[in-house]
Amino acid sequence: MAETKTKKGATKPDVLKAYGVSDELALELMQDMLVYRRFEEKAEEAYAIGKIGGFCHLHIGQEGACAGSIKALREDDYVISAYRSHTQAIAKGVTPNAVMAELYGRVGGASGGKGGSMHIFGAHVRFMGGHGIVGAQVPVATGFAWKIKYREEDSVVVCYMGDAAVNQGAFHESLNMAAVWQLPVIYVVEHNEYGMGTAFSRVSLTDMQEKSGTHGIPGTSVDGQDVLATYALFRKLVQEVRECSGPRFVNLETYRFRGHSMSDPVSGTYRPTEEVERKKKEDDPIVVLRDKLFSGGILDQEGLEAMDAHARRLASEAADFAENSPVPGPEALYRNVWAEVNPHGRLFFDSRRRD
């Protein structure tokens, strides 16, 4: 993290006390959010000039939800997510370089260039992907939690999904099993109000927070644009779950400042431009924290600029790394379809490869 100057005046209000967060941690969260914002902006830029292909879903606007929740985890906790997960991968410990190289489809990418934007994996830091089918990661997360209980470990699983995922059967089947078997998993809906272009209120008569109650799982809502509140809630929930008190559900209220993916406009038929502009102005998680830290005398403009410069540098280095990483060679094409290629029988049915 970059050096920052802090000036804590005796007369300043203690803005962090309510959250039980130290100055250092608050600054770290600010730095994290800046890194995520600048990283995603760099990805946006690279997409625009054709360096990145396919679908690309940006997290801009949702940095507080990401930073606040993952900061409460241990290294041996598991995180799994959907397809808007670049910054969650970084938060869990995949390097920005590896994430950007994956977006570029390069050998140095987190998944060797075989996954792309939607399928970032980091087994070494227990970042479990990166999943492209809405809600399909939810049963898989439940399986991680099953293993934790089976082996009597004390890790916790955090499973992110978008608001649209709660209408999938996979969601309800998973929550039911996790409740019946009291598994150590926190299901987190990053509720940015729109499943692609469909407002949540158009596809659900009940509120988000009620979605887990029918399965016997306590649900909590929190303002994901307030990174400190998010962190404080997750710190509490992670501890509860780690102490074997069963699954939890979080409605993490947030908002995306960009389109659903790079191929969509920021606003349009499904949400008015004024709404997006108002949210950007009033509810930017970076601005919300900045104002708190400024008013508490924990950070000043100069310090913020230094942090931002650091974030921009990391994003820029990631793009350079990706640019310089080679594309996968043809030998990678058939590699890792199977873990165990036994000596018998033909596995591939393709004239390009005979085994």
């Binding site: 598991y78 998944s111 060797g112 260039g113 075989k114 996954g115 399928h119 994996f121 980091g122 087994a123 479990m128 992907g129 990166g130 999943h131 492209g132 089918i133 399909a136 939810v138 049963p139 898989v140 997360a141 439940t142 399986g143 991680f144 939690a145 099953w146 293993k147 089976y150 059967g169 996979a170 089947e173 998973s174 039911n176 099993m177 019946v180 990678a332 590699r335 890792n336 379809v337 199977w338 873990a339 165990e340 036994n342 000596p343 018998h344 029988g345 033909r346 596995l347 591939f348 049915f349 085994d355």
Partner: protein, 326 residues
């Protein structure tokens, strides 16, 4: 060597592998307290307890996906579908996750999971409960697909499937559970995936098949024998990986091939085998390759119609005679 039913051979394989490796667990509908819908898991709850023999809710997509997650982090789940007819609900987890995560992550996660249960028609269960489901899985790279037809194969192949580090779809035959045969009691009796087995030797025509249909093929071969025709009956046992060497060997020997499968003809397993034989052994063929399959219709309920729809020894004999210009 003991004589066991197919059901007990599977039970023995599960029991031995669960004793051998504490990471192996069995999950599915009615597998524990009910002792299994088809009693394959009989007695396992008593021996291994509810932690390792787990009754699931009726949530195929959910517990199928739970198994995928557990396998990604090092357990070795055996997920039982009461029948593969119900596995369609879990197809997203099997094809999109289990079969692809190793590749998409460039090898970061293995997928040591077995999805098992009966496939194919039983007796008068009508269209939704009577279908051979192999082809849905063989189609996808990342899947290994096993279809044992005898008690010994059931045991040896299930043990191999559980020990394998990849996704294995293990398809049993509902009508085979009571069938009997000699089964080695050696705990290390493991049949490698991808090795076919010649179930009967002959030099006039090759009947290639897999799964339950080996019994139809053998019945046909017995009838042909009475007419002085000797059939080579090759049981593929696993249809991915595929023992192409064994296929080419029997083609070279008889120059005539009938493929018998329980599933539908259109884009079926036999279609793939026919394609490969003509690509690789065109000159060895003395006649077109014929297929005997289920009729290209949903399975009817009425007994007489069901019999008409299934592949039969008579249809196989007819196909062989046609190839021999008899």
């Amino acid at each position: 060597m003991a004589v066991l039913t197919y059901r007990d051979a599977l039970n023995q394989a599960l029991r031995e592998e669960m004793r051998r490796d504490p990471d192996v667990f069995l999950m599915g509908e009615e597998v524990a307290e009910y002792d299994g819908a088809y009693k394959v898991s009989k007695g396992l709850l008593a021996e291994f307890g509810p932690k390792r023999v787990v009754d699931s809710p009726i949530s195929e997509l959910g517990f199928g996906g739970l198994g995928v997650g557990a396998a990604m982090v090092g357990l070795r789940p055996v997920i039982e579908f009461m029948t593969f007819n119900f596995a369609f609900l879990a197809l997203d987890q099997i094809i999109n996750n289990a079969a692809k995560l190793h590749y998409m992550s460039d090898g970061q996660f293995d997928m040591p999971i077995v999805f098992r249960g009966p496939t194919g028609a039983a007796l008068q269960l009508a269209a939704q409960h009577s279908q051979a489901c192999e082809t849905y899985y063989t189609h996808a790279p990342g899947c290994k697909v096993v279809t044992p037809g005898t008690p010994a194969d059931a045991k040896g192949l299930l043990k191999a499937a559980i020990r394998d580090d990849d996704l294995v779809v293990f398809m049993e035959g509902e009508l085979l559970y009571n069938s009997k045969g000699e089964v080695p009691d050696d705990e290390d009796f493991v049949i490698p995936l991808g090795v076919a087995d010649l179930k009967r030797a002959g030099s006039d025509v090759s009947i290639i098949t897999h799964g339950k249909m080996i019994h139809v093929a053998l019945a046909a071969a017995a009838k042909l024998h009475k007419d002085g025709v000797e059939a080579d009956v090759l049981d593929l046992r696993t249809i991915r990986p595929l023992d192409m060497d064994a296929i080419l060997t029997t083609v070279a020997k008889t120059n005539r091939v009938v493929y018998v499968e329980e599933g539908w003809p259109y884009a079926g397993t036999g279609a793939q085998i026919v394609s490969m034989i003509q690509e690789e052994a065109f000159d060895a063929l003395d006649a077109p390759i014929l297929r005997v399959t289920q009729a290209d219709i949903p399975m009817p309920y009425a007994k007489n119609l069901e019999m008409l729809a299934k592949p039969s020894a008579e249809l196989v004999v007819e196909a062989c005679n046609k190839l021999l210009y008899r």
